[in-house]
Symmetry: C3
Subunit: 158 residues, 3 copies
């Protein structure tokens, strides 16, 4: 099954559509290609109807809500990649994910939150190619007060 | 107009000179080259007379001061690149910027702060090549109490 | 002297053994290879008997303890690389380190803490190849409450 087909199945299961690729919210491009690598900008969680999620883990957002925000952020990254590449089938694998989690000083479950993005990529690209290297860390705060910001590096077919 | 010429024009407009390339402040090199990519270390905002800026966004540093600190940090990155390459004209484009903004728990305008660096690179390298992928995040604290730390990846002519 | 021999000498001096390569603690791989580059996941400080260190710089962990935690984290990265490559002698150099330091809002000595990892790599790979580009920043919190998390990029012999 292709990544496109797996994404369709996943979206059907979630009962949502792939969001539109978000425009850059500052002086940056949402993705840059260099040879066989694609570097995405940090993406924020945006609902299918365009609402930006807010919240801080350890305060007003629990791990499950953070997980779902990370999943939504990963969908936004896929929307960016699909808009840039035409098809997600041109993505060979996930090389690296960087999960920045808006956290209180005591919150220590950033990996469990970031798993929301990792699981989505594993579902779409398969467990071998969908899972790459990763760092997850606690950010004292994040742009627009979002609970999670995620950056990805993909290997693509040229 | 070359990047060098645009930088000169920008510096004249700002009324300052390009600072001297900063020495590493620890066990690291300020830039590493790997093929056609240059990875800079995280740079801190240093004034032309060598003073390191301090401050935390959301507390004792407003967005405009943060923007100027990011601009100064970007100048320091250019100083590092010019010292290493001989001329900024050897830089083909900005691939990635990572803006770490020293922030209180509530501050949420890291992109507006990081724009200070992005705008300088856009002015020097032009809007197409000067703007890359980017993540901006809130750091709970930063080395030496600076308001902003910035890391860059450039594509260079070999 | 080879990197393997220098590591053995360093471990003898520290009176410890290289820890076992840690399993991934979430949906990620501990290292990904792309051509001549190896991207590690963020590693946490784990003692040789498997205990994960806890603490926050500026609160219950001083710079010396943080330095030692960074050193231990670097050993864990080497364990990952040795398990993946067979021998550390296949590592040509350190390209980049990213040191995330669990810090209070006022702590500002993240470079001194991260030096614990940088010095170990300099000891093992030599000062020219063991020292790369680096960013060190204050994280408001980190996974499992560790004092430091470190991510590395190495150049390897293919």
């Amino acid at each position: 099954m292709s990544a496109e087909a797996r994404l369709s199945a996943k979206l059907a299961e979630m009962g949502i559509n792939l969001p539109a690729a978000a425009a850059a919210k500052g002086l940056y491009k949402t993705v840059i290609f260099d040879g066989h690598l694609a570097y995405t900008s940090g993406h924020l969680p945006v609902t299918p109807d365009g609402q930006i999620l807010k919240g801080k883990l350890g305060k007003d957002c629990d791990v499950e809500a953070g997980y779902q925000a990370a999943e939504l952020t990963a969908l936004g990254i896929l929307a960016t990649m699909k808009a840039a590449l035409g098809s997600l089938d041109r993505i060979r694998r996930v090389v690296r994910l960087f999960g920045m989690v808006n956290s209180t000083a005591d919150f220590d479950q950033q990996p469990a939150v970031t798993n929301g993005a990792s699981q989505l990529f594993a579902d779409v690209f398969g467990p071998e190619h969908g899972i790459g290297a990763r760092s997850a860390m606690g950010a004292g705060s994040l742009p627009l007060g979002v609970p999670v910001e995620i950056e990805a590096v993909f290997e693509i077919e040229q």
